[in-house]
C-alpha cells in the first residue's frame, strides 16, 4: 500500500536499541494524550495513553512521558524490533470549545528499524 510516511521526520535506529519519539502539543488545557502507530495501508493502532494527572506511564516495551511545563510528550520503545517500523502519531484531546469527540493529531514521525 502507499506509504503514509512521505515528507515526515524520520528516526532510524538499529534493531535492539531503544527509540525515543518526541511530540510537542498545542494546548495547555489538554488533559488526555495518546500515541498511535500506523503501518502502511492500515489505520492507526492505539499504543498507550496518559492523563494529565500523570507524568509517566508504562506499557509492554513502551513508556510515555508527559512534561506539562513545556507541553512535551515522548514515547520510548525498548529493544526496538523491525516490526516497530511505522509512522507514530501523538494525539491530544481538543480542549477548545467544549468538543466532546475531537482528537488533534500531530504530524507524525517515521520510525525505521535497521536489522
Amino acid at each position: 500500500g502507499e506509504s503514509v510516511g512521505l515528507h515526515l521526520p524520520t528516526l532510524s535506529v538499529q534493531e535492539g536499541d531503544n527509540s525515543i519519539i518526541n511530540c510537542a502539543y498545542s494546548n495547555s488545557a489538554s488533559d488526555y494524550f495518546i500515541w498511535y502507530k500506523q503501518e502502511s495501508g492500515k489505520g492507526p493502532q492505539f499504543i498507550i495513553d496518559i492523563r494529565s494527572n500523570m507524568d509517566k506511564r508504562q506499557g509492554q516495551r513502551v513508556t510515555v512521558l508527559l512534561n506539562k511545563t513545556v507541553k512535551h510528550l515522548s514515547l520510548q520503545i525498548a529493544a526496538t524490533q523491525p516490526g516497530d517500523s511505522a509512522v507514530y502519531f501523538c494525539a491530544e484531546n481538543n480542549a477548545y470549545g467544549g468538543s466532546q469527540g475531537n482528537l488533534i493529531f500531530g504530524k507524525g514521525t517515521k520510525l525505521s528499524v535497521k536489522p
Partner: protein, 115 residues
Amino acid sequence: GAGVSQSPRYKVAKRGQDVALRCDPISGHVSLFWYQQALGQGPEFLTYFQNEAQLDKSGLPSDRFFAERPEGSVSTLKIQRTQQEDSAVYLCASGRLAGIYNEQFFGPGTRLTVL
C-alpha cells in the same frame, strides 16, 4: 472478533460526483468517529457520534460533507459534488464507551481519489 471495517477500500470519483463511504464499527461500540487523512499528514477529525446522535460535526470541511448513523451502528460518510481537494484517506474509528477517553479502534480507511 472482527474489527472495524470500511468499504470500499478504494474509490475513484470524477470531480462533481457524489460518493458514499461506509463504516462498520465493532459491535456494541457506543462512539464512532470519522477522520480525514491527507498524504503524509496526521488524521484530522471530521465528526463524532454517540450511538445515533451526532454530537460533534465541527470538523466537516463544508456542507458538501454529511455523515449519519441512523441506528447507532453502521455509519455512512457522504460527500457531494466531490472536489480534487477531497482526495484523502477517510478513516473510521469506534470506541466501547462514549467520548474520547477510551481507546479508539480504527478501520483500514477508504482511499478516495478525485480526478
